[in-house]
Every structure is written in C-alpha cells, then in structure tokens.
C-alpha cells in the first residue's frame, strides 16, 4: 500500500488535511474542541448576520429566514427554517463555518461558530435558556424537531412510475381540452413586469 497504481499525486501533510477538513457530520465527526454561549452568539449575530437575516432570524427582504415557521410545513407557503425544517444541528455549524457571513466566509473562529449556533437554537426556541453554552461536549444532545420527518427517495412507488404501462396515445381525454390557467394572468416573466412587484411568488431555493 505504498503508492497507487499510477504513482501520481503526493501524500497530504497533516497540516493540509487539517486546513481543509472542516466538515461536520450529524454524529459529531469533525466537531472542533470549543464552546460558545447564547449571549456571545447574539452579539456576533447582531454584528455579522442580522443585516441580512434579521434581528430575530426573520430574514430581511429576500435574504433567507433562519428562525420561526414552526408547523408550517403542510401550509400553502411553508417556512423552512433551522427550527421548522432542518434535521440536524451539525448542518448549522458546518454551513456557518464554511460559508457565512456571506461575503466574508471563513472569518469566524470555532468558538464564534459555537456561540452563533447556540444563538440560532435560541432564536428557534430550541434552547430557551439565555445562559446556554454549546460545546463539542453537549452538541450531540441537541436534536432538531423535524429530524424524523425525512424519508428515503421512493419516487418509484408513485403511480405513474410504478405502472410502467404504455401511455395513452388516442382519445385520452373526453372532448376538447380546456385551459385552466394562463401564465399571462400572473405574468412575472422578466421584461414584462417590475421585478419587485413579482417578488415572492415563487422561488428556486
């Protein structure tokens, strides 16, 4: 096992692996040693995050909402937040550490990220204690409410896929087909409407 078949590339140094191996898994793999509390998190969040995500995680304008939305998943406009939708807390730590604040990624210390994560738990009513301290030691104790609502991909059980029948070719509907909805009624196509007027009617996430 000294080298691969081609002998290409070189071994990574421990410092190199440490520099890039920043990912966290739900089982805690990757969590750095450290801690942070809700109040420190609030301060960090207010300075670095609130401008986009709102003081209470409610989202400013079209920037992402981070808190709230409890029990909205079956509504017409579900609000998918850390508290209402995300299955694992590890994802919060991982994502904030790798990608936030937007435009200045990788600028937070590990303890900063613990503190912000603690504050995001607080904003989502998952911890209620202002003095709560999140650390690598108690991290796995926190479970997010929606964890059990994720299921594997079972699209192959949906009737149109499961059937595997030849589709209808002739006289597939009774009588002439009626138009039931027209894009022109709610026209949000660029060039036809003011962008701001259209905001919020749909989205790619």
């Amino acid at each position: 096992d000294d080298s691969g078949k081609f002998g290409l590339g070189r071994e990574a140094t421990p410092a190199e692996v440490a520099a890039w191996d920043i990912d966290i898994r739900p089982d805690g793999q990757g969590l750095p040693v450290g801690s942070g509390n809700v109040l420190d998190g609030e301060e960090l969040y207010t300075n670095a995050c609130a401008v986009c995500h709102g003081d209470f995680g409610e989202g400013v304008g079209r920037w992402p909402v981070l808190a709230g939305g409890h029990d909205t998943l079956t509504h017409e406009r579900p609000e998918k937040t850390i508290g209402s939708y995300w299955p694992y807390l590890s994802t919060v730590y991982d994502y904030v550490r790798r990608a936030m604040p937007y435009g200045d990624a990788r600028s937070l210390s590990d303890d900063d990220v613990y503190a912000i994560t603690a504050y995001l738990l607080y904003l989502n009513d998952i911890v209620l204690d202002e003095d709560f301290v999140l650390s690598n030691e108690n991290f796995l104790e926190i479970r997010l409410p929606n964890e059990r609502n994720f299921t594997p991909d079972d699209r192959d059980q949906e009737p149109f896929y499961a059937a595997k029948t030849e589709p209808c070719m002739t006289d597939c509907k009774d009588g002439p087909v009626q138009i039931t909805m027209r894009a022109r009624i709610l026209d949000v196509t660029p060039g036809t409407v003011d962008d701001d007027a259209a905001a919020g009617v749909g989205g790619v996430d």
Binding site: D1, G4, K5, F6, L8, G9, E11, A12, E16, V17, W20, D21, I22, D23, R25, P26, G61, W63, L73, T74, E76, Y85, T91, D94, Y95, R98, A99, G103, A105, N149, F150, P152, D153, R155, P159, F160, K164, P167, M169, T170, D171, C172, K173, P176, V177, Q178, I179, T180, M181, R182, R184, D187, V188, T189, P190, D195, G200, G202, V204, D205
Partner: protein, 403 residues
C-alpha cells in the same frame, strides 16, 4: 433567430424583384474583416439577444442566484459553453489552474494532494451528459407562471466532458473497506458540499477539466468539476478541491435545508438524486412565437432522463388528447439531451402543444396534476411534469395549464 423578413415583396417591386437580390450588397463587394480579427470568436452581432437571462426577483443577490439557458434559440443536443446556465452560491471563483489542488482525505490508504498536472496524467474519458438543476421548473409547481422555456426549463445544459473517471483517482488513494460515501467540496466562497454514495462514484462519475473540447468555463467550475451523470446539478461540485471519503452521509445544508422534497404530508424526501424523464418544446414557445402563417411548421424540443437513454418522445397538439411519436434526431446517448421534431402542416387554428418523454427504464413524464396528486405543491424540486404551450392563430404562444 433574429428578426426574419417574410420575403414577400411589395407589389410594385415584384416584377423587378427583391432589391436585396437585384442590387449588389456591400458584403458581396467589399472585403470583410480578415483572419485574426477574432482570435477567439463570438456570435454575430445579429444574435446579441441569444444570452443567458435571470429573473431578478428570485434571489436577494446575484452571487447566490441563477440564470437560464436560452433553450428556445438553440437546436441539436449540445449547449454552447457561453450559454450554459449559471447557478452560484458565492459568485464565480476565478482560480489559476497552477494554484488549484485536489485533496482526497478520509477513509483512504493515503490522504493525497493532486495538482492539475497530476490529474492530466490519468487516463481520460469523453462523455456527453445533460446537467439539470433539481429546481428546474420549480417556479411552476403551483401553476403556469413564466412565459418562456428559458425560464421554465432553462436550468439545464448538455455538453461533452473530458475528465478522469473518479474511480481511478479514488483507487490511487486506496479505499478502505468501510468507505461508503464521498463528500466533494468546492473551492469557492460557498465551499459547496454534497454527499455522494460510493456506488455512483465508482460507476460513472468523472473529475472533468474540459467541456465541449476546451477548458471548463469559470462559471462551470474551472479548472475542475465533478460530473455526476443523470443526477441533480447541485451535486456536480464546481471548483472541486477536495473529496472526503466516509462511512456515512454528511447531511449538509444542500441536502437538508435544500434539495429535499417536501411532500403534502409535511414529510420530506431526501437524497432524491436522479433527474427523472423530462422534455419541453423549445419552438414554438412563448419566446419563439410562430412568425409564419399556416403551412409547414417545425415543432422541436429536447428530452432527457437521468435513467439513461430517451426511447421515445410523444407530442400532442391538442393538449394531451391525442399523441404522435416525434422523430428523435442526432446522437441518442445515455443521460444526454435528445433532440426531437414533429413536422406538421399547421391549419392555422389554436394548438395546445405538449411533449412527453419516455426513458429506457420505462418511465414517462406525468401530467402536472398527476405529479401534484402524488407530492402536493411544495416540493420545489424535481418538477418533470408535462408542459403545455398555447399557440394562438396569430402565432403568439403562452404558458398554460389544461384540465
């Protein structure tokens, strides 16, 4: 195409003929620009309307946003590199290939670092694949909304990739027996990550450095991108700098908060990777209305499936009551776009155009209502239902739904 004249002549001119023919035109007389005026060529000035376009209201900032391939202006199965839709989460990383590294770490015998030059020494493959964003047509779940296949279906492109089979790179590092998942990571400001099951990685994934013959474009991950054939575009990590090998998936932000499919029950599917069969008529379509009157009309579109080849595309001109099998033309390659045509003699009456793709797995596209009955309207992703265009006698085309 650009505005096209009808060629009908005013009565007075008819005897003599079209002055564009009877008079000598400048381009037939004087020299045009020579070679090397354009060392790297660009489209004609008369094609300046053929561009990627965005929908500003969709996102808060252009650096985390999307724009759309102008499908209605294209033909065949290859998307020109300059028109491949963009989806970034932290803007376009501009990386000098000399400064780029690929690290393999985790459950391997040797954690390794490769330069671009190292990677160019592995055996290579060339494959044509479509890349579709799982959110393509996501704005249409609740009903017809955007007038143009560029907006409703334009988060797709199809190019030829040149790259190294991921399997060879993983074997070079040596996989441990408990290696079951991979986590590709990007070098951009979002440090994009996804979890990929080992079976897929060893099957047909490529670590690609070229598209359509030339280096990847910066918007598409130059100098290195992961190619995950037939699976949702978000997994094709751009600016690929690291692949961690593990025994469990990571459940990162792009596979929990995003790219999970919320059902009507409030439950959500995760790891819905495959892009199911789908098609759209690109012409006529709202941005490509019928400018000629009745008579011969070329109905054309594209179809694709993450399950493999497209075996058949049916087209309806009466909103799905009756169907005709279209002609698939050009290469038919697995997990690649397919081009189809139905040449009709238009009687000038209103049309309700639909296309319905079938793949070699025996799957075909559901109707919009069938899909909603199965999933509700909140899934955002994987909307592969049948699209309807309403062609009116005057040639205008509108995005509609039918009962």
């Amino acid at each position: 195409g650009a505005a096209l004249a009808t060629g009908a002549l005013p009565a007075a001119a008819r005897a003599e003929g079209d002055p564009l023919i009877t008079e000598i035109q400048d381009w037939n007389r004087y020299l045009g620009e020579g070679v090397q005026a354009r060392p790297y060529g660009t489209p004609s000035q008369f094609e300046s309307h053929v561009v990627r376009r965005d929908v500003e209201w969709l996102t808060a900032s252009t650096e985390s946003s999307v724009n759309f391939t102008p499908l209605h202006e294209l033909d065949g199965i290859i998307t020109p590199n300059g028109l491949c839709f963009e989806r970034h989460h932290g803007g376009i990383a501009e990386i000098n290939p000399a400064d780029h590294r690929l690290m393999i770490n985790g459950l391997v015998d040797r954690q390794m670092v490769f330069t671009m030059e190292d990677l160019m020494r592995f055996p290579r493959e060339n494959r044509v694949y479509f890349l579709e964003c799982a959110a393509n047509s996501g704005m249409e779940w609740r009903g017809a909304q955007l007038n143009g296949c560029q907006y409703t279906h334009g988060m797709i492109h199809c190019v030829v990739y040149t790259g190294v089979p991921l399997k060879l790179i993983l074997e070079e590092a040596g996989l441990k027996t408990n290696a079951k998942w991979l986590m590709p990571e990007g070098a951009d400001a979002s440090a994009m990550t996804r979890s990929v099951p080992m079976e897929k990685a060893l099957d047909d994934c490529l670590v690609a450095f070229k598209m359509n013959g030339e280096a990847l474009r910066p918007e598409q991950g130059y100098p290195l991108r992961l190619v995950v054939p037939g699976w949702e575009g978000n997994m094709w990590v751009k600016w690929l700098r690291r692949i961690e090998v593990g025994d469990e998936p990571w459940h990162h932000r792009e596979e929990t908060s995003k790219y999970t499919d919320l059902l009507e029950t409030g439950k959500a599917r995760r790891f819905t990777w495959v892009m199911d069969p789908k098609s759209v008529i690109t012409s006529p379509s709202p941005q490509a209305p019928v400018r000629h009157g009745k008579g011969p009309m070329v109905i054309s579109g594209v179809a694709w499936s993450g399950n493999g080849r497209i075996t058949r595309v049916d087209v309806s001109i009466d909103g799905g009551r009756n169907w005709q099998t279209a002609r698939i033309d050009g290469p038919s390659l697995p997990k690649a776009m397919h081009r189809f045509y139905l040449d009709i003699d238009w009687d000038g009456s209103d049309l309700l155009l639909q296309s319905r793709a079938m793949d070699e797995n025996g799957y075909f596209q559901p109707t919009k209502n069938e899909l909603r009955a199965a999933r509700g309207e909140n899934s955002i992703y994987h909307n592969n239902s049948i699209q309807t265009w309403y062609v009116q006698a005057d040639g205008t085309v509108e995005n509609v739904e039918v009962g």
